[in-house]
Amino acid sequence: MSIRNDIRERFFPHMWCPGCGHGVILNAMLHAIERLGIRKNEIVMVSGIGCSSRISGYVDFHTLHTIHGRALAFATGVKLSRPELNLIVPMGDGDALAIGGNHFIHAARRNIDMTAIVMNNRIYGMTGGQYSPLSGEGILATTAPYRNIDQSFDVVSLATAAGASFVARSTTYHVQQLTDIIEKAIRHRGFSVVEVMSQCPTYFGRKNKEGGAVEMMKLMKDRTVPKDSKAAEEHPELIQRGIFVDKDVPEYCDQYARVIETARKGR
């Protein structure tokens, strides 16, 4: 096993709480990268701020830990200036879709080649348990003591509508599927979005009486079904997992190369 080679061992043990889903996502991501056989020097990981975003400190790639919500904007600068690099952008749900919501839809619209991983624990972990745009109605949070009244985004529909050319969802319970999906997302040429339902036992679990990490992961198993399955048809209230969009759309950096060609001809 060589994924050990891809981590910065001196920073372990990590800062995540026991049972936090973010470690599972790190694990799946490293296995996906191992399968793809990409060289470490060809990977740039850009993250924002939050428990999720600390993921970049633990991997031995080029890592850019930026400001809250703006990871995709930084990543756009890196990618457009060096299109040969592989950009992986892990973000918390607040990071990606509250403060970073605008950058998220515009990166999708541009179809710039990078992999956005939305680590969705439905809560703000790092600041201590406030509701996020993915918390959903009825959830308890430190800023929703009378239960949350905000509707949540559906990341898959949002990313699809904004033009992402690869959109998928999995959970920290379904590690094999998650690894497969991340592998395909990185391989995909264009903007790929992977929503990973993850658990924050410390704030979401405790507050909403969902139990510890094991119970929360079991809930993810019970509340999700494979996309287009019979179970999905019979239980439309359940959340679907799988790849929802996988299409060929002209990629931004490729298109820009054409702009340069045109500009040079005109001279």
């Binding site: 470490k40 850019l64 904007a73 990543a75 600068g77 890196v78 457009l80 200036s81 045109t262 500009a263």
Partner: protein, 383 residues
Amino acid sequence: MSSQPIKFIQGNEVCVEAALYAGLNFFAGYPITPSTEIAEHLSSRLPQAGGKFIQMEDEIASICAIIGASLTGNKVMTATSGPGFSLMQEALGYAIMAEIPSVIVNVQRGGPSTGLPTHVSQGDVNQARWGTHGDHAIICLTASNHPDIFTMTVEAFNMAETYRTPVILLFDEVVGHMREKLVMPEPGEMPIVERLRTSVKEGVDFHPYLPREDGRLPMSDFGGVHRYNVTGLVHDMWGFPSNSPQVAHGLLRHLVDKIQNNVHEIARYKTYETEDADCILVSYGSSARSALHVVENRRKRGEKLGLLELQTLWPFPHNIVRSVCARAEYVVVVEMNMGQVMEQVKLAVGSDQKVFLANRIDGVFINPTDIRNILRLIQGKGV
């Protein structure tokens, strides 16, 4: 005689020409009056030179994108005006903390808020200095005419690369939009500073945040052979977050000292007839043009007037202002705000009594008559 073409162009275009001369190859921006022409011109010029232009979804995204592109080894710039500059402040602090060479142009307009979009102001002097949070140093340059816009833009890139820091070019609406002659310098005529890159070989431990003895930090192109971490958190010499008081102290001192210790290298200014002057006007940007007109005009009539034109606003050249103004009876700061530079001039001169303000804050360009009227009041002559 230069063999380069003589151009009759707008100030914003001069900034574009100078940025390209300095080696700009990546620009990200979002349109806002009165800076928009910079983005427009670069959208056609950059791809012709093989560089990249991108119009982002807002100013926050724009400055973030140029920081990313700078790290990979490019010379980068964004351009905006007041409201956009406000939006950029958090990421500006990031660029200071992570030591990313970058140039941010703010063609000032009236404020606060959306203020006077098409009118002149010099109200962002303090925002340039203190807009972002935390203690830090900043370099901020300005200019009043086309040759100087060219020079200061090239200098901004040179200083950004020398000190590994964002540099702010603080122009104003009049400077950005006025048209006058520019003689393009020959290639090679002006020195261009290239980024100091590390000589550490692949596979050898590279410390991206370990300054050399002279305070400079060699960089490695992000995405190249050295893998390291870049963060806005307090970080050690490898770029990894640290809570150690020593590391925090050392980093902040380094960030401030690398600029404050070099004020004499960074200070750019011009003096006109200051030697024997008993009244010195201190000004910058477009208002310095009116001030110069007053000096030239009144000298002919025997009044001992001089002008100190500042081109480096931050770090503020207190020593230079002090020595130039030492023997003057009056110092009159000419600016289009409520006295943002005047406060610094008072500090430099060390006396509140002899420093006066000649300003306009109504979006109308301060003209020589305005300055002359204020001078008469100060001199007790009445208007």
